[in-house]
């Protein structure tokens, strides 16, 4: 939304020393967010009105011409490629040092004196788009330069002066006025400026309307829940032609393209009052009769922009007795638009249910200046003001035109008068500082609230233009006072609070600890991936899509389903990284989404429904050029040391799945927390290299519950231990796990058992392997003698020999 400072001056006497920058700053601090200030004259600095005196062909370029251009005080030579150059033509000359956009695109460029194919050229003869005037002067082709001949301007004058383009434009961020329907027009902004600077705001003047009975316009609203007000008026004898310069300039200032003196008036009113309007060519309206009705699903309608649109039952339509002529509040129809031979127009000024405009324009994928305003919930009072002002303007631009009907007004305004009782203490306690009563009253009065003060309470009547949704509770009044009083005037002080026991979130603490442990100790890097799963990997991992939560409103397969597991994305990331790294260690901890199970989170306070399970998962993988055994054992080791570090008793139980050559369940107290394993080799795309991918995926939310938070120390041993090593030869398929189970059964004195060497080959018979391991013995009540240990060692050898047919090496 653009604010024109010149336009403001219609109703305000601005202080002489008020610069546009200061105004922009003060608006930002009290009302809206300003993006930038545009100085029209500055952007046209150095652009002069010139008259072409002579034209000669360029000796070395077919499409260029060499012009002698009269600039009043001098004559400059300029090389130009414009297709419409002629002798005596008035043109816009961007002199050396001025800024232009080459061919209307890209950044601004400062002009220098140059030689073009050997001929000196002082600046350029500009096309409208090159100096930002393409709205005012649309070009028929991009070769065309701006022709000012018809405007009979003074040769040598600054173009900005000659065209009266001396405005300052304040660009306001639309997001910051979403909640302020009253600020979508210049007059509403003038009201704010008046309040900020304590200026007198002139009333909005409208000339009396001379109604007539020559034509009868019938208006009916069939759907009063969606249309709160509809005003219609017929004006005859208009002559459609370009608008005068002052009107074009105002439209130029707010970024609109002038079209003709009818459409421009409706746009002008929209930007002045914030009230969108529409003008129909009365020839195309049967009756003339206007009906406001809801469309039927599946019906089609061609809007002004020439697009055929499919409607639904929410779309509110403007119709005559036979057909639709506009989508209410969004866009007019092609079948009834103003054309150059229009003589009779029907003006529309209406008010529609904001939410329905929003919903319909969303459904139609059609956002317009009009819908942007209606969906903010406009004040129905504005509609009448707007149509009266529009009639006045159209008549003033068309000498022959006259009002040919009565002003039809169907009014179902649902907005009630809002009266608020605001205790003075509420305002002061929210501020934390006392504002004088008089000051509060003054601020509210400046904002056009009606205020009475009794018993330390303000009794406030909200003006209609703020009463459609913006102001409804006492806290809204606090904001009004605060922003005008100035947030800078608030004294800041730290809150005084009672000490409370801190809330501790063990899971959060463990998660942080785990992340640092993974990166600092385990050498893993933390990847963040999207919440949307990777479908190719979902397929490779044989995860069921039925268990995944589906995204409803996306079309891209990359965003179709939420992660059920973190692995698909991590595997995809690993493949991407493999181009640059042959050893990859990444992990991620975040929520996954499980459609088939419920979480503890209720959907609303009734607690009847619960959201899908969304536990945090902890997954990771290592891609390595090492052997499968080494890679696998590193992941297993990671889980063993994690168990040690976090004080959690884990056991690993062999399992299987379709995508892994080896899988173990990670369990604690009979609860399965997750798995780790070795990916089947052919699933991972590593180009010509042979790699191993070991992975894990664990439910962190469950894991964290089993972490020992009460670790206590074990007293140091009182007696020394005895160590022995043993090497045996057994059949190759015997597992260490099985040997271990037998050995530890033999004696309670065995406190530690650890393999340190496994090998086959040289010195070991075919089909056999050698396993060497450390044994440590200790008693809690005496120092062991060698004889004690030798006895146990003999038993161990005997048992191993019996059960596994082992031989001592």
């Amino acid at each position: 939304m653009y604010l024109s400072v010149n336009w403001l001056k219609d109703w305000l006497k601005l202080p002489k020393d008020l610069t546009a920058e200061k105004l922009a700053h003060d608006l930002t601090m009290s009302t809206v967010e300003v993006e930038e200030v545009i100085d029209q004259a500055a952007s046209l600095a150095g652009v002069l009105v010139g008259k072409i005196k002579e034209i000669a062909p360029h000796p070395d370029a077919d499409r260029l011409q060499v012009c002698q251009v009269d600039l009043g005080s001098r004559v400059d030579q300029i090389v130009c490629g414009g297709s419409n150059l002629s002798k005596g033509m008035l043109v816009a000359v961007a002199t050396v040092g001025s800024k232009v956009k080459w061919h209307g695109e890209g950044e601004l460029v400062t002009l220098e004196k140059v030689k073009i194919r050997g001929i000196e050229s002082h600046g350029m003869i500009a096309a409208a788009s090159e100096i930002g005037l393409n709205n005012l002067f649309p070009a028929k082709s991009d070769k065309e330069i701006l022709d000012l001949t018809d405007l009979s301007l003074k040769v040598g004058a600054d173009l900005s002066q000659a065209l009266q383009l001396n405005d300052f434009i304040i660009d306001i961020d639309n997001k910051s006025i979403n909640h302020r329907p009253d600020l979508w027009g210049q007059y509403g902004l003038a009201r704010e400026v008046a309040a900020i600077y304590r200026l007198t705001l002139a009333d909005y003047q409208v000339a009396p309307l001379k109604e007539a009975d020559e034509m009868k316009l019938k208006v009916s609203v069939k759907d009063k829940d969606k249309c709160f007000r509809y005003l219609g008026l017929v004006i005859k004898n208009v002559k459609v032609e370009p608008s005068p310069l002052w009107l074009k300039n105002r439209l130029q200032a707010v970024g609109l393209r002038p079209i003709n003196n009818i459409v421009d008036v409706t746009n002008y009113i929209m930007y002045e009052l914030g009230q969108p309007m529409h003008a129909f060519d009365a020839r195309m309206i049967e009756g003339p009769e206007i009906q406001v009705v809801s469309a039927k699903k599946g019906e089609k309608f061609i809007t002004l922009d020439g697009t055929k649109r499919r409607l639904n039952e929410n779309c509110l339509m403007i119709a005559d007795s036979k057909k639709y002529v506009a989508v209410a509040g969004i866009m007019g129809g092609q079948n009834s638009e103003i054309s150059s031979d229009t003589e009779t127009v029907i003006l529309e000024s209406a008010n529609f249910l904001a939410s329905n405009i929003r919903r319909s324009s969303g459904f139609l994928a059609l956002r317009s200046e009009s819908s942007a305003r209606f969906e903010k919930s406009l004040d129905p009072v504005l509609a009448e003001l707007a149509i009266r002002k529009a009639a006045e303007l159209i008549l003033s631009l068309n000498d022959e035109a006259y009002v040919a009907s009565r002003l039809q007004d169907i009014n179902y305004n649902p907005f009630k008068e809002i009266n608020l009782e605001v205790p003075e203490t509420l305002i002061n306690s929210r501020f934390g500082v006392e504002i004088p009563t008089k000051e509060i009253k003054d601020i509210l009065t400046r904002l056009q609230f009606q205020v009475e003060y009794k018993n330390q309470t303000f009794f406030i009547k909200v003006p209609t233009f703020r009463a459609t949704k913006d102001i409804s509770i006492p806290e809204d009044i606090v904001e009004e006072v605060a922003r005008i009083y100035g947030y800078d005037n608030i004294k800041s002080s730290l809150p005084a609070v009672f000490l409370q026991a801190p809330h501790t979130d063990v899971a959060h603490q463990v998660l942080k600890d785990l992340k640092f442990w993974m990166s600092l100790f385990q050498g893993y890097s933390e990847a963040y991936t999207y919440p949307f799963t990777n479908l190719p990997w979902v397929e490779k991992l044989h995860l069921s899509l039925n268990d995944h939560v589906k995204v409803k409103n996306t079309i891209s397969l990359d965003q179709a389903y939420l992660n059920l597991s973190l692995l698909p994305n991590l595997l995809a990331k690993a493949e991407e990284n493999f181009r640059f790294f042959d050893n990859i260690k990444i992990f991620e901890i975040d929520r996954t989404f499980d459609k088939k199970h419920k979480s503890v989170y209720h959907t609303d306070p009734s607690k009847k429904k619960y959201l899908p399970l969304q536990d945090k998962h902890f997954a990771g993988l290592e891609v390595s050029v090492d052997t499968g055994q080494a890679t696998f054992l590193r992941i297993k080791g990671l889980w063993e040391s994690l168990a040690d570090y976090f004080g959690i008793k884990l056991s690993f139980e062999k399992n299987e799945n379709v995508f892994s050559s080896l899988v173990y369940d990670i369990k604690t107290q009979d609860v399965t927390l997750g798995q780790f394993g070795l990916l089947k080799n052919d699933l991972f795309n590593s180009g010509p290299s042979k790699v191993q991918v070991a992975w894990w995926s664990v439910n962190f939310s469950v894991l964290v519950k089993y972490i020992n938070q009460n670790m206590i120390y074990t007293p140091l041993p009182k007696f020394p231990s005895m160590q022995r090593d043993l090497a045996i030869v057994v059949a190759e398929d015997i597992l260490w796990e099985d040997l271990m189970k037998e050995i530890i059964k033999i004696s309670p004195l065995l406190v530690n058992l650890e393999p340190f060497d496994v090998f086959t080959g040289h010195g070991v018979p075919e089909g056999k392997k050698s396993i060497a391991f450390h044994l440590e013995f200790r008693s809690t009540d005496k120092t062991l003698e060698s004889a004690d240990v030798e006895l146990i060692m003999k038993q161990i050898l005997a048992v191993l020999n019996k059960k596994f047919d082992s031989q001592l090496r």
């Binding site: 967010e33 929210r430 004294k491 990166s519 890097s525 919440p531 990331k573 306070p605 899908p612």
Partner: protein, 335 residues
């Protein structure tokens, strides 16, 4: 006995002189000075001596024992395998580094900021990312068809749920669960259905803060944020409020921070204004307090939403937001 002791001493010294390695030295020490060694054997006979001789011989025995201990200590030190003096490698080679992993920069920044809040008594809370319409919108005074929903384009999910568009979804959940007084932050991942480019991603991180108590006012919000931000940025910062609009706070503010690059003088970072937009905030809307089961006549509070992703980008001058979610090790290994 005296002679025995002297002989033993001489034998030991003689044998010691011929010792060539540490193992033999240890054996020798064990043989003579060990618990069952020869010296102890001789000393066992001390108890049989007359009371007259006991003190003298005892003293002598101790002296010899001590002398021998010293000699052995000397010999041991001579044979110490760690006593390497030759130094023949290239110390100018690069040091041997242990490979460490890397946290996502967003994680690093999140934990840094959490520290500052924890010190001010704000605890960290967590909640769902897959959220209901109620907690993400309705409970926050954003009913269906509210235009504010436009600025937060939403990923809608089957079952009428959605991916939360902001961490504000936890405001009402936490008030329902913990009541007042409440002081907490909710860092986490949020989602907007929009197309991505170098400065927009559909997935990013926020850190929401909420404080509710009796008599909380706008001045408290300013002072708390100034203190917290000074701690986050590790220097004194200045902040200012200006009007903003968010349906779940009233009044609503945009909080600007005085430009840390130019100190408010005006530079390219702050677009010559001296201030940089930092975060939306405001006083908790009475409807939000009510939704959380609190009486807005008794309690008031403030809420704010810090852009964690933006903070990380500012800190490390990351110019493409998508890198944060890329999992690209060339990027991650820098942190």
């Amino acid at each position: 006995m005296e002679v025995k002791l002297q002989n033993l001493k001489n034998t030991i010294l003689k044998e010691l002189a011929e010792i060539k390695d540490s193992q033999l030295l240890a054996d020798l020490k064990n043989k003579y000075l060990g618990r069952k060694g020869e010296l102890n054997e001789i000393l066992k006979a001390l108890k049989d001596l007359s009371d007259l001789e006991k003190p003298r011989i005892g003293k002598l025995a101790n002296e010899i024992k001590q002398e021998l201990a010293e000699v052995f200590a000397q010999a041991e030190s001579a044979f110490n395998p760690n006593k390497q003096t030759n130094f023949n490698f290239d110390a100018s080679l690069p040091g041997t580094k242990k490979e460490i992993g890397h946290l996502n920069p967003s994680t690093i920044v999140q934990y840094e900021i959490e520290e500052a809040f924890l010190a001010m008594g704000f605890a960290v809370y967590d909640g769902p990312q897959l959220e209901s319409d109620y907690y993400n919108f309705t409970a926050l005074n954003i009913p269906a068809d509210h235009p504010a929903r436009d600025t937060q384009d939403t990923f809608w999910l089957e079952g009428d749920n959605l991916l939360r568009t902001h961490t504000s979804n936890l405001q009402v959940r936490m008030l329902e669960k913990y009541g007042a007084p409440f002081r907490g932050i909710f860092p986490g991942r949020v989602f907007r259905y929009e197309s991505t480019d170098a400065s927009h991603d559909h997935t990013f991180y926020q850190l929401e803060g909420l404080m509710v108590d009796k008599n909380i006012n706008i001045g408290n919000l300013i002072a708390t944020m100034r203190t917290l931000l000074s701690s986050v940025f590790k220097r004194e910062v200045d902040v200012r409020l200006r009007p903003g609009f968010f349906p779940f706070v009233e009044p609503a503010f945009e909080m600007d921070i005085k430009c840390l690059v130019c100190g408010g003088q005006g530079c390219s970072v702050c677009k010559q204004s001296g201030w940089v937009e930092l975060m939306p905030c405001g006083m908790v809307h009475p409807k939000v307090l009510e939704a959380g089961g609190l009486d807005p006549k008794v309690y008031s509070g403030f809420a704010f939403g810090l852009g964690l992703t933006r903070m990380a980008m500012m800190k490390y001058r990351i110019d493409d937001i998508r890198l944060l979610q890329s999992g690209d090790l060339r990027f991650l290994k820098q942190f």
